[in-house]
């Protein structure tokens, strides 16, 4: 049996298993459904279903590799795009290790230039160092550090959505994406009708784009005065929104960072470090910014810039602003890992472990020839690293290695 056939048979077993429960999205009959055919590799789109059972029957019959539904509500979800009749759309966020710097440096990812076959490990370069083509095949890997990095971003996002935007926790649906990241869907009557431009403003808020802490007059005054090293009058931060976040972030950074760490962030004025107690108490706590000596306006602004980077959340900007978006369906398999997109309560973010709680294939083993795999966790145990060896692995681990192009079924 080929490796693909093996995975297909397992996916088929999963969708045919009567105990497989796929949660229905809200207002199911107003959403578009879509799925990628496992073998034929084409996307079936513009489907509408009356109820989850009807859709599950289709999954049983067709066994797709990936399953999606629209974040959008339509009058007629099964018509072509221009005729669907847009009603509204959930506000969705996607945080994916593919798009953010991670602490592992992605050393487990492998890229190969499609043109000259030159290859390397780590972050895929913009262009091939040999032939400067920019087309690569990339073998990614969902490592713990990658997922941890996305978890940190997700935590910041959820904090903003609840405290600043005031969404109740039951309006937030938080998911492990099934690969290496998280999704957050906001289902709230008032946000449904927001247009792309309004969503863009929400994105900018989350990512920190366009933040300016000085009002126009102060900015102009500051631009004109070339004096450095003077106490910055006029610099202050309020108690709401990003002002509040900046203050919390400053306190966090200043109370934990060493002098060298601050310098490495470009914060060279040592008074930030020396006077940190004064800054923490008088400025951040008591709002008496003008009593801090030796910190210029320029330094405050640099500090703000760094804290903004630390406190903003790295989301995929296109996903959130797109009001016709398809998103992976909760409870279905991810075609790159065999893991499930899985919902959990927002406060469970720290506790949720994808490699035990998003595992679909809990039974059986398979013998595989692994070409190359880093050490990894699956189903509560640790495996690898492997290099050109035959091993017997639990089904979930074998499937992930195969889907990640790191192993073949062996006899």
């Amino acid at each position: 049996m080929s490796s693909r056939d093996f995975v297909y048979s397992k996916f088929s077993e999963f969708y045919n298993n009567p105990s497989t429960v796929i949660p229905a999205p809200s207002s199911l009959e107003q959403r578009e459904f879509a799925y990628l055919m496992f073998k034929e590799r084409f996307m079936v789109r513009h489907k509408r279903f009356e109820n989850i059972q009807a859709f599950q029957n289709v999954l049983t019959r067709n066994v797709p590799s990936d399953v999606y539904h629209s974040c959008t509500y339509y009058e007629k979800p099964d018509l072509e795009m221009d005729k669907k009749g847009w009603i509204g759309s959930d506000l969705v966020f996607d945080i994916d290790a593919d798009h953010i710097p991670t602490s592992c440096g992605k050393i487990h990812d492998e890229w190969i230039c499609q043109k000259c076959k030159f290859s390397g490990k780590g972050i895929t370069p913009e262009e091939c160092p040999v032939c400067s083509s920019d087309k690569f095949s990339v073998k990614t890997w969902p490592c713990d550090l990658c997922i941890e990095s996305t978890r940190v971003e997700t935590a910041k996002l959820i904090d903003m959505l609840t405290k600043d935007f005031g969404f109740a926790t039951n309006e937030l649906h938080v998911f492990f994406s099934g690969h290496r990241g998280y999704h957050v869907h906001v289902e709230n009557e008032a946000v449904r009708s927001l247009d792309a431009l309004s969503r863009k403003e929400i994105v900018d808020y989350i990512t920190g784009l366009g933040l300016s802490v000085l009002d126009r007059d102060t900015k102009e005054k500051f631009a004109k005065s070339k004096k450095r090293g003077v106490t910055a009058k006029n610099f202050k931060l309020g108690d709401y929104g990003w002002d509040r976040r900046l203050k919390i972030g400053m306190a966090k950074l200043l109370s934990s960072a060493t002098s060298d760490e601050l310098k490495s962030l470009g914060l060279k004025n040592n008074n930030l470090f020396k006077n940190k107690d004064v800054i923490l108490k008088r400025a951040i706590e008591e709002n008496r910014w003008d009593t801090v000596s030796g910190v210029s306006m320029a330094t405050w602004l640099k500090l703000v810039e760094q804290v903004k980077i630390l406190e903003s959340a790295n989301i995929d900007t296109v996903v959130t602003t797109d009001v016709h978006r398809l998103i992976r369906m909760n409870g279905t398999l991810h075609g790159k890992t065999g893991l499930l997109k899985t919902e959990f309560a927002a406060h469970q973010l720290d506790a949720f472990d994808p490699f035990t709680q998003a595992v679909a294939f809990k039974k059986g083993t398979a013998k595989v020839l692994v070409s190359d795999a880093p050490k990894f966790r699956m189903g509560g145990a640790t495996w690898g690293p492997y290099k050109n060896v035959k091993v017997v692995l639990p089904t979930a681990a074998a499937i992930m290695l195969i889907l990640k192009d790191r192993a073949e079924v062996s006899t």
């Binding site: 221009d82 920019d134 405290k163 969404f167 247009d195 431009l197 403003e201 929104g241 990003w242 602003t321």
Partner: protein, 370 residues
């Protein structure tokens, strides 16, 4: 008599409020649908109203206002006439079928309303905001900010403004509410009013107007041609690459080096080229010369964007702030500081380039003219 009966039913606005803010839903009770019969509009009784309506639009075109400067604020003599002149003015503007006049009129009405609102007490503003379905509350008297507005109502209007202070990120946002002062609320309401009027204007689709209305509409069109110019869509006939904004140059260079463009980059480049006058055909050709691309798909996408497929709407190039959000705004230059849209960049730059050309030595320009 009739008025009083009605006003006990919903006593929210006075008649003089409605004369100042005739776009409010409630003013409809002063003109029933029957009043709006087109034949009535041209009856002798209606003459005064038609005149006042004409005055509204004329002033909008010439002076960016809808009330003569000699009318004292708050003092409107004939309230009924004033209220009624508004829907008639809407009819006149719709009959011009000219988007420039529509925009201008809607904005002039909105500006007029804003200057009235600046003199009003806060609770009247609140009532006006409710008319637009805003989720807004008045802060207790001792608070630093006068209003709290739910962020979705804020965004629906503020997202159309370009100044940094209108970005949500630069606002006091807490628990879903944005804290605002009265002046902010007036400015946001202005946008809301403008949008409502534009929508009303665009919803009227009559095939034929009575001759009296059409005549006046013709007059207005002449007036607009003298006062408003041609709008901004006239780009030079040829493509002037020298005038491309930095973001587009960057995309163009990447595409010509055979590099993969992210979706938003591709969309920006295509819409830009189509909008400055390149045909879908030549854009497809251009992409073809670049790369190992999928011809069928590219042609389909480009034609879709150019409005030659699907709904038939031509997509416009995204404004700068959108390209910034998606990291497509690259290599910003000084010229960028004065514009909000890549097409505006191109327009201004081509204007400057052609000016420089016409400023070349005299004999040259004489040559051209001969």
């Amino acid at each position: 008599m009739m008025d009083r009966n009605l006003s006990t039913v919903s006593a929210s606005f006075t008649k003089s409020d409605l004369a100042k803010y005739p776009f409010l839903k409630e003013s409809a009770r002063y003109f029933s649908p029957i009043d709006l019969q087109i034949e009535d509009l041209i009856s002798p009784d209606m003459h005064q109203i038609l005149d006042r309506a004409m005055e509204r639009v004329t002033l909008a075109i010439t002076n960016f206002t809808v009330r003569p400067s000699n009318t004292e604020k708050h003092v409107i003599k004939d309230l009924q006439k004033e209220i009624f002149s508004f829907p008639v003015a809407i009819m006149l503007v719709a009959a011009t079928n000219n988007s420039l006049i529509k925009k201008r009129y809607a904005l002039a009405e909105a500006k007029q309303a804003t200057s009235e609102m600046s003199l009003e007490p806060k609770d009247l503003l609140l009532k006006i905001a409710f008319d637009f379905g805003w989720k807004i509350t008045l802060s207790p008297p001792d608070s630093k900010y006068e209003f709290t507005l739910y962020f979705t109502s804020f965004l629906q209007n503020a997202s159309h403004f370009h100044a940094a202070k209108w970005k949500l990120i630069n606002r006091k946002l807490s628990e879903g509410n944005v804290y605002l002062n009265k002046h902010d609320v007036e400015r946001l309401l202005q946008e809301e009013i403008k949008q409502r009027i534009e929508k009303r204007l665009n919803n009227i689709t009559l095939d034929q107007y009575p001759p009296e209305i059409s005549e006046k509409a013709e007059e207005l069109k002449k007036l607009a041609a003298e006062n408003l110019g041609q709008g901004e869509t006239d780009f030079p006939k040829i493509i002037i690459q020298e005038a491309f904004p930095p973001c587009i140059n960057t995309l163009y260079a990447a595409a010509s080096k055979n590099h993969h463009l992210p979706h938003m980059g591709r969309f920006a480049l295509t819409t830009f080229l189509v909008n400055i006058g390149m045909s879908a055909e030549s854009v497809t050709e251009l992409f073809k010369s670049f790369s190992d691309y999928n011809e069928r798909l590219t042609r389909y996408q480009v034609e879709h964007i150019a409005g030659e497929r699907g709904s038939g709407t031509k997509y416009t190039c995204p404004q700068c702030s959108i390209l910034q959000t998606h990291n497509v705004c690259k290599n910003r230059d000084d010229f960028c500081k004065r514009i909000y849209h890549p097409l505006k960049y191109y327009k201004n730059k081509t204007d400057i380039l052609s000016q420089n050309q016409s400023e070349t030595p005299k004999e040259n320009s004489d040559n051209k003219n001969s």
